[in-house]
Symmetry: C2
Subunit: 497 residues, 2 copies
Amino acid sequence: MLKDYVKTAAPEAEELNNELEAAREKLSGYQMKIKEAKLPVMVIFEGWGAAGKGSIIGKVIRDIDPRFFKVRTTTAPTEEEKRYPFLYRYLKDIPEAGKFTFFDSYWMDEITAGRVKKELSDDEYKKRVDSINRTERSLTDNGYLVMKFFFHISKKEQRSRLDELNDSKNTSWRVSKEDYVQNRHYSEYLDVYEQYLSDTDRSSAPWYIIDAKSRKWALLQVLQYLNQGIETALKNHSLAVPILQNTFPLKKVPKLSEISLDDKTVSDEEYKKELDRLQNELSVLHNEIYRRRIPVIIAYEGWDAAGKGGNIKRITSALDPRGFEVHPIASPEPHEKARHFLWRFWTRLPKDGHIAIFDRTWYGRVMVERLEGFCSENDWQRAYNEMNEFEKELHDWGAVVIKFWVQIDNKTQLERFTDRQNTPEKQWKITDEDWRNREKWDLYEQAVNEMIQKTSTAFAPWYVLESNDKKYARIKALKIVTEELRKACKEAAHKKK
Amino acid sequence: MLKDYVKTAAPEAEELNNELEAAREKLSGYQMKIKEAKLPVMVIFEGWGAAGKGSIIGKVIRDIDPRFFKVRTTTAPTEEEKRYPFLYRYLKDIPEAGKFTFFDSYWMDEITAGRVKKELSDDEYKKRVDSINRTERSLTDNGYLVMKFFFHISKKEQRSRLDELNDSKNTSWRVSKEDYVQNRHYSEYLDVYEQYLSDTDRSSAPWYIIDAKSRKWALLQVLQYLNQGIETALKNHSLAVPILQNTFPLKKVPKLSEISLDDKTVSDEEYKKELDRLQNELSVLHNEIYRRRIPVIIAYEGWDAAGKGGNIKRITSALDPRGFEVHPIASPEPHEKARHFLWRFWTRLPKDGHIAIFDRTWYGRVMVERLEGFCSENDWQRAYNEMNEFEKELHDWGAVVIKFWVQIDNKTQLERFTDRQNTPEKQWKITDEDWRNREKWDLYEQAVNEMIQKTSTAFAPWYVLESNDKKYARIKALKIVTEELRKACKEAAHKKK
């Protein structure tokens, strides 16, 4: 893309000024339309060191109201950031609906630097490129406009700019040793950039190469592409998006109605013994996963009154409180609703070595949001794949992902609801909404069946916890968790050797 | 406090078990009351290394629903965290209303470690202690329950526990070199702890020394103190709190009505010239404050339609977009409302070397929240001092704090409202609420006068920007900002010498 890039001639000075003014006005006029259409806009600037990304961003934002944009500068990841998945520190900064975020370099930079320094193997590189392509697609599928600019200058031009910056006291801090290294190894970088650009040039988020030799002309190119992108996005904003076919291997799982419940019980004596044994084991394993820096994500879904809370408690009471966190998931707050539906889960991921337990999860998308009409049909249909991809990221990062469906039958729910209603200390647990949801049991059952069929991947299968007898469900959960952690520790030990 | 600490005898084994059970039940019963009363509870565990803080936290939370608590472990500050004020990384983790946060060490640890290592001068120590006492008071004044436990063990006991932990593969990572250093220098630590505990033992957040030799007994002490604290807090929850007298030197400032507006104008020609000159200067200064790592906070308040947005834009368009952020402040979101009213500003502070511009600010507390009854009279009366203290923290951290009141008269506002109403592109800027607020002009004027009188401190004075002529106001703002930054750079250069 870079090597065969053919420059367009810049217009003459007067013409350039006129076009600049027109483009500025246009962008300024788009502000309110973007706000009204709730369009989130990511503008990503990548390119050669000293190609002028920063100063162009400064000029692009000049006519945008400061309430409508943010600027994010990416630097090398901190030690803390390295304890999260690669995508984490980028995704946490995505804009909310109706606003711009301008990124002064984004995920490209970290990857291409890793390639040039030979720190990133071919396999890892391929994985990252896949992650990025998927994520950019999922962002645009969820209504984001993603504009990617690559600022291109020649080796000679770069060298003279670095020298110029370096000469002034107030700008010399902007020039790092790395910049000069890049200049000396210009052709190696060119190869790596070329490869990355073509690997990630997709119709959902295509690349725009910017001839950055003249700043004014570079600015005009950016403004014109940006305006064009916004115009297209505004037109397409309510369009449905193709539903991708699932490409992850799925496990075969039974339907809820095929799962017998009343025979899944445990005696009090057996319960006490097993609980004790398994909690002790979990406690030891928790230390080990901490030591081995394995991240763990446990997701709980299930019927109201199925016993999720008590089940979670039997897990957590075996854990060191410094190493886990429970995230109760209710309906999203405004700033969460204004972003990609997975954002509030991305930002709640555990550090490596830590455990995050989600009490309700991202699967709300294909249950409550589907059934209550909080998102479009196209949205929830697409979500199965998006959630599989999300969990694939977690898996590839090295996380243990365990998903529980806590299952009871309709009759048992009614008994528990009635009990809650009639017991003063339990009344806070039951709301009118619970009764309303109960009326939709059949619709929910259908949605849950579909969800479990479509998202039981090999790397993150669903486990059904039969919970007519809550004690049975607790023991089963503890068994699965300890087994999965044991397996992960074993694999980690094996890899180390 | 530690040196003259007299142990209470632990009850006999059976009695201990009975009391433990009773205390557990009590705590468990308090959960829903805490939720209903919207009481936020901070439980801070400090003490000797290996005194068993972590394992006791694990036991205390056993009967609390995981949805109602978080556990935070404090480690040494990262390089990133060091670029914020000392309190920042602690305050960002305060609990929301109705929930617990358990802290496995909090701000004490960082300070006492600094003292023992002689990295913290007497002056700095005193400053930090003042900051902490103020903050703990402000938290409790704003409805927080702050429970502070110090886990006490003898030198001998500590040594034997460290050896024991060190002997097992799964627990040896918990023991650091530092722990043994502490054990060898036990008496020095004792002196520093003693001093800190008595310096920060205030009735708003007193210390409880826990005899931590026997774990069961330690647990019982913690549970009993905690229950007692909760009981008291629930009783006092709706009590008003004494309004502290202002102790910061205040500048004398005129009332709004004494400020003439119509004579504050600037010609188009003069405007253009000055704007150009000042923006160029600001641009250079921005580089310098970045280089010198000076944080800058600019706060804008003013009448609706006074021209805040345009004024801010004239500042930001001179700034490198990678070094500033504009925070538009609307009414708080639920998770913000559920915390101390300054929390959402603490968490939006800039890193050192960066500029944060607040479009509306924490002063909403004594304007809209006061006038619309969103907080109690006691709350907003107290807030003047709390905001002065907040700005004092920023100032002591080394920040430049500039506060602008953008002033227009009643007649000018009416003209601008009418213009907005009649111009299609501007209609989004005017809402019914604006008109409603306008009806309360006199009440607002009174509130603003009181605010300006009570919060024009020497370290963070208010500047009135006369904005009947917006151009005049812009030039004045730029002059003040450049002057303040120049002064700060000069001082920093001087200090360095």
